[in-house]
Amino acid sequence: MNAKIYITLKPGVLDPQGKAVKHSLETLGFNEVADVRVGKFIELKLGDIARSEAEKKVKEMCEKLLANTVIESYKIEL
């Protein structure tokens, strides 16, 4: 079983990285870009484990380690 985790900054939280990337895209001439947000994309390979169990575990991993829930939100796909 594989899991995909998308970690993004919560709305309103400053994203300095996104800001810098947007600026660079502009200087490259990509003026159609109105906003950029940079997050993380984590892929997990899980051993033999039931779907419901996996769901619970991955959520726990996000809360404990993978995401900083004070400023980030996460989405899990199994």
Partner: protein, 224 residues
Amino acid sequence: MKFGIIVFPGSNCDRDCFHVPNNILKQETAYLWHKDKDLKGVDCVIIPGGFSYGDYLRCGAIAKQSPIMKSVVQFANGGGLVLGICNGFQVLTEAGLLPGVLMRNSSLTFICKHVQLKVENNETSFTKKYKKDEIISVPIAHNDGNYYCDEVTLKRLEAKKQIVFRYHGENPNGAMANIAGIINERGNVLGMMPHPERVSEDILGAHDGLKLFESVIACHCEER
């Protein structure tokens, strides 16, 4: 001889890199602004350490897009001397002037300390003043110094003596084959993670780095 120090937004070893050729070795030295294209007739370009563009996205990725880098690539292709230190090394790999990439340190933390290097190749324009296999002490200070390339590239680097510096003793960041610095095939573009400009004066306790700058000057004088 004239040195040029590139200033990207977020470069922060630019003043340190300026200090050594200018104040210690009394060479003409100029800052080169990232938005300019003019290299001001310098004989050696130094891309200093720091966090160009905050190291956002990937270290060196945004810096490589700047106007000055187009000129640097041309300059390098014409045989001009280019030295990339730390973030400068990262910029050089992103710009394709050197092979491979610098990934996150295996410890995932920033590391600042003196490390020992072995001079593997003392026949380059940057290392003539060192002895072959000389062990020198030069500090590192980086998040992403973990050199990585594919097997074919590594074989070629080894075969063509392009690995100029290797970590001696402890490998601080997980770099492949203990690589601390490499040069291009032509021998005019050197990238290294350690900071020679930080060990170029007695008051800082060591001057193992000064020979690198002196090598460059010596080579330049020979050529003339």
